[in-house]
Symmetry: C2
């Protein structure tokens, strides 16, 4: 099917997105072709725009459309708190909750001896610079509760020890969580950190 | 976050694709921004190309880049057989199997009294024209084995009765299928159509 080469190429590109396989990429492309004016053209235009303008914040690693992101430039967010996250997706999750009013630092991953990822690969030196220069009172380590995440948190805590107040997210039963479905580690952590009512 | 407006707009557009919700759209957009040169720019370009060139074949309803699709223009495919399918996705599935060497007719859906979809909405009149004009010997009704699909097949069979040989796909146990997991209807159909070895 030579003249459908472009459509096949589009399916191939779409199937490289996370969460889309060949079958769902075909479905998505058919949907796009059917909704050409409403969806395909606006999506193509917006992708061009984002491809031309998106960049990483030089200060914190957040994704935005300027060299220094909105959060880093906003005076309102300069409350002396830095929340350290692994990934931009984690930063977005924190922002959706709306609970944190300070600034962020996106590591870009976790330390991993197996994958040869050391502090230099992770924007950790930049974090240490920021703590020294930005008048920071508290660093909140909001890393994932995985082995790699916790290893990275310990390393950062060692590096910043004594310079600043260090905290991490509380561990316990998630809202709506049922004890029966929780792992033993979570129940143990929740029990140890129990609060009086 | 005003300067990330474009990124938010891209996430919103991506989340309208079938199979992607808000969470997977965010993941896909982050992936696209990370792989800007390798994936985002080529994808945006290919979407522009497809948006500009994709169209439905005026003869059979297949999706391609010309007014009459490659299958309808290919002399090799003029073997007197038309395979009637509901959807372009079904046509693609038939083509991947490689078993059918004739031409197609894409209905664009199934008859549905509830949704007020009658024969005029479905490219059924065009099928009847083609059978009369294209020297067709056999019409294969490859509609889905759903109630709506079978209702539509019956309607088309009524319309074409006596003009042409009418067949439908065999029903039975799928390759690799386990009896224990099949529904009663499939087992009944497979038993009734049993073959001597």
């Amino acid at each position: 099917m030579s003249s459908t080469r472009d459509i096949d190429a589009l399916i191939d590109l779409m199937s490289r997105l996370p969460g889309l396989g060949p079958r769902s990429a075909r479905r998505a492309v058919l949907h796009l072709i059917r909704k050409r004016a409403l969806l395909l053209t606006p999506l193509a235009d917006m992708m061009q725009t984002v491809a031309a303008t998106a960049r990483e914040c030089l200060n914190c690693g957040n994704v935005g459309t300027s060299d220094i992101c909105d959060i880093c430039t906003s005076a309102k967010r300069a409350n002396g708190e830095i929340c350290v996250v692994e990934d931009v997706a984690d930063l977005w999750a924190m922002e959706r909750s709306g609970v944190f009013k300070g600034r962020y630092h996106v590591l870009g991953g976790t330390l991993s001896a197996l994958d040869a990822i050391g502090p230099q690969e992770l924007r950790i030196p930049r974090l240490i610079d920021r703590v020294a220069s930005e008048n920071i009172s508290e660093v909140i380590l909001a890393l994932n509760a995985t082995i790699d995440g916790q290893t990275t948190a310990h390393y950062i805590a060692d590096q910043l020890d004594g310079q600043v107040r260090l905290t991490s997210l509380a561990q316990g039963v998630p809202i709506g969580g049922e004890l029966d479905y929780l792992d033993d580690g979570t129940i143990t952590a929740a029990m140890r950190a129990r609060k009086s009512i």
